[in-house]
């Protein structure tokens, strides 16, 4: 139908542009976080992240002249560079904080005692003095320079690999992983068996059970918090991984059963009947035929459950994290950082991006299954 509708060039343009705007709007916030996580605290605080992508002009904090003194033609000369890169362009400089833009690049400025200082455009400076400057305080240089984009991976090093950093995410990362993997694998198996029974076995009450599962699909998690916490305390699990795994298993089951059952019902009846005629037991049919054939549905549920458990905060808060904080997960750690390090965007952005990165990778790698699961999972 696309050869008839909307093929007018003007309309195609409009469609392309509006879509581009929409995508840009949707991408922009995430991009901001990603870019910010690669900037230093100074950079983040002094300019918006969007300006870091292009060359930007900004005031550089004061830099004190330093370097080895060389005697040239009877004068003592120190040469040095203001920046590590050679791409920076100085547009103005000064020697006092009151007048940081007093001089133009290339200008030779007389300092006290007959010394001269000059800063040229690419950031090199020359301090020339009739007497040795050794042992004296050298002047500071304030400059305004256009610097090319500059990024650092220091934030990630500090947050992930610095064991002394209390804001570190390494421990939380492994805790999240510890919660996620069993909580993803266990419900799949339990649900697969139940889904098979609901799809291919005949027994009284089957329709009722399916209806009940559809109902449980939307029961808010909030209702389960207190009763289960009480239950866990009573039977001695308390707060910890075991309770969290169980809780995630329970909460994930309705969707798992629903998805898998819908998928299994659609499998061809002939295959199952042939297998039965050949003398296969239900258990064999299930493990040899149904399970391999249901791989797409299993995969889509696995992705759902993975994303849900990885991104979860509430269940972890209630069932996992005790007062010692040893079992904190990434989402909780980030909320904590939001409270304590609210203004330190280099910490926040990096921490958040670390927690986002894994789901994003899973998302892009297995998007096909996720979409398929969504289409099957929304109650029609």
């Amino acid at each position: 139908m696309d050869n008839i509708v909307g093929k007018k060039p003007a309309l195609t343009w409009a469609v392309n542009i509006s879509m581009a705007v929409l995508v840009a709007l949707w991408l922009f916030p995430t991009l901001g976080l990603l870019v910010s996580s690669f900037r230093t605290a100074d950079q983040i605080a002094s300019s918006g992240w969007w300006s870091s992508l292009g060359t930007q002009e900004r005031q550089v904090p004061a830099i004190r002249v330093e370097g080895t003194e060389v005697e040239v033609d009877g004068r003592f000369v120190i040469e040095g560079r203001l920046f590590d890169t050679t791409d920076a362009r100085v547009s103005a400089w000064g020697t006092s904080s009151r007048q940081p833009e007093a001089y133009a690049p290339g200008q030779v400025v007389d300092l006290d005692g007959g010394a001269t200082l000059t800063v040229i455009e690419d950031g090199t400076y020359v301090l020339s003095s009739p007497v040795t400057t050794e042992g004296t305080r050298l002047p500071r240089i304030f400059s305004t320079a256009a610097t090319p984009p500059e990024f650092t991976t220091e934030n990630y090093r500090a947050i992930l690999f610095d064991p002394k950093n209390t804001d570190g995410m390494a421990k939380a990362f492994f805790n999240t992983l510890t919660v996620t993997i069993p909580a993803t694998i266990i419900p799949i198996l339990v649900a697969a068996f139940a889904a098979y029974a609901l799809a291919w076995m005949d027994f009284p009450g089957r329709a009722l059970l399916i209806a009940a599962i559809v109902g449980l699909l939307v029961v808010p998690l909030q209702l389960a918090l207190i009763p289960l916490l009480k239950l866990h305390n009573d039977i001695g699990i308390g707060k910890g991984y075991l309770g969290t795994w169980l809780a995630h298993t329970g909460f994930g089951l309705p969707l798992a059963i629903y998805l898998l059952r819908n998928y299994m019902v659609g499998l061809p009846r002939d295959i199952i009947e042939c297998a039965k005629v050949d003398g296969a037991s239900d258990f064999q049919i299930f493990t040899r035929i149904i399970l391999p054939l249901s791989f797409p549905a299993l995969a889509s549920f696995a992705i759902f459950q993975f994303l849900w458990t990885w991104n979860d905060l509430l269940v972890a808060l209630v069932f996992l994290i005790d007062s010692t904080g040893e079992t904190t997960v990434m989402t909780k750690q980030i909320v904590e950082l939001l409270g304590t390090r609210g203004g330190n965007w280099e910490v926040l952005a990096t921490a958040a991006f670390i927690s986002i990165a894994v789901p994003l990778m899973v998302f892009f790698a297995m998007q096909k299954y996720l979409v398929r699961g969504l289409l099957a999972g929304s109650v029609k």
Binding site: A45, T178, F193, Q222, I226
Partner: protein, 404 residues
């Protein structure tokens, strides 16, 4: 023990236990209990004896011992001893009837055995899932209802207080604020998500890079609410007036003539909308994926007929396509509605309900774990449940209709 190791062991026990349970129970059913051959009288009696021992006597003993005494696992602990007694007797009797039916005295034919095995098997397959669903979802609903009618006593135990918790909650302005905000969320978020999703679906189906566009708009689905909260806090960030703004919104606001930077999240009423945008941003991808599939399912001949009749693209979209996918739009709408009702993380991480942004789920969390008031906490949970119930019923109704 190292949690990672514990996790590994749990996986092995969990998966191995599941497989082992299913395998062993099926084997037991087919080989021992009901083998697919006839059983003469003497053997049948022996099997009945063994069956009675394992399936009636031991469970019955367990029921009496565990249920007869106050035991923490028991749901209806405070419902009175008489009630417990009656219930355990009824349970034991039911068990006896069931076992007696499955293992009748006298000889059995192969057919009898196979029929019986096939009657039990579905329940073997279902048992672990049913147990988990009952304990982790069904029981909490009832228990929360009960807790919402009780009050925790200082020395332990609970007292029945009727509707007092609800009355107390209704007297709190913060509750009404939460409810009001929640209703606002309920209108704004599903509406905007659906509209944007529909727009994105319609546009992306017409362009060459549509799949890329879709996956970029869909991407926030993978991002946690907490991560999204950080992302958007950066967007809403505010710096003092004399500094350069690092939040996009303030930068734009000043660029377009605003006089001084705003602290967006502290402006009552409007700040709720800034929080809602976060959820819209996440949910649009979901709406788009579902609606895009529905749009592709619209029969082409209806569209061709409209074109022949001279309809313009907008008429085709609003008068031909949208009415045909109305069912899907409703599904998307209700699904997002449920997400909205449960929304917790975003508010918790961004404002924690300050500056009049409270929502029910966060209000409940506050009551439960900060004020430690389980009664009102449960009551507010019941309000959330109440709001979900119409959708629950509608879903069940539709699912049943579809199965018939």
């Amino acid at each position: 023990m190292n949690p990672a190791l514990q996790g590994l062991i749990t996986i092995i026990i969990g998966v191995g236990g599941c497989v082992g349970y299913f395998y062993a129970s099926n084997l037991f059913l087919d080989k021992v209990l009901f083998p697919a051959r006839g059983i003469e009288k003497g053997k049948a009696d022996r099997s009945r004896l063994v069956g009675m021992l394992f399936f009636f006597l031991l469970p019955a003993l367990a029921i009496v011992l565990l249920y007869g005494r106050p035991f923490p696992l028991v749901v209806l602990q405070e419902a009175g001893n008489l009630f417990r007694l009656v219930l355990s007797v009824a349970l034991v009797w039911l068990l006896y009837v069931a076992v007696n039916f499955l293992l009748p005295p006298g000889e059995r034919t192969a057919g009898d055995n196979i029929t019986r095995a096939n009657m039990i098997r579905p329940w073997l397959f279902l048992a672990p899932a049913l147990l988990a669903l009952t304990v982790y979802l069904a029981y909490p609903v009832i228990e929360t209802l009960r807790l919402s009618l009780t009050q925790r006593l200082p020395g332990g135990g609970y007292a029945y207080v009727g509707l007092q918790n609800y009355e107390k909650m209704f007297a709190e302005p913060k509750f009404w604020e939460a409810l009001q905000n929640n209703l606002l969320w309920l209108i704004v978020v599903p509406a905007l998500s659906t509209v944007f999703g529909l727009l994105a679906a319609q546009l992306s189906d017409r362009i060459r890079w549509g799949n890329l566009a879709k996956s970029l708009i869909f991407m926030p689905m993978a991002i946690s609410f907490v991560g999204a909260a950080v992302i958007w806090k950066l967007v809403y960030d505010t710096r003092p007036v004399d500094q350069e703004q690092i939040g996009v919104l303030n930068a734009l606001y000043l660029f377009f003539g605003g006089t001084e930077p705003q602290t967006w999240l502290t402006i009552p009423f409007w700040n709720s909308f800034f929080l809602m945008i976060v959820l819209v941003w996440i949910q649009t991808g979901f709406a788009m994926v579902i609606l895009s599939a529905a749009l592709r399912g619209v029969p082409e001949d209806t569209i061709e007929a409209a074109i022949v009749d001279g309809a313009n693209p907008f008429q085709i979209f609003f008068k031909i396509k949208v009415p045909q996918i109305m069912g899907t739009i409703v599904v998307v709408w209700t699904t997002i509605t449920i997400v909205v009702l449960k929304v917790f993380d975003i508010v918790f991480a961004m404002t924690n309900g300050q500056w009049e942004t409270q929502v029910l789920a966060n209000y409940m969390y506050d009551k439960l774990f900060r004020a430690n008031d389980w009664g009102i906490g449960s009551a507010s949970a019941m309000i959330i449940m109440l709001l979900v119930t119409p959708i629950l019923i509608w879903n069940v109704y539709n699912a049943r209709k579809e199965m018939r």
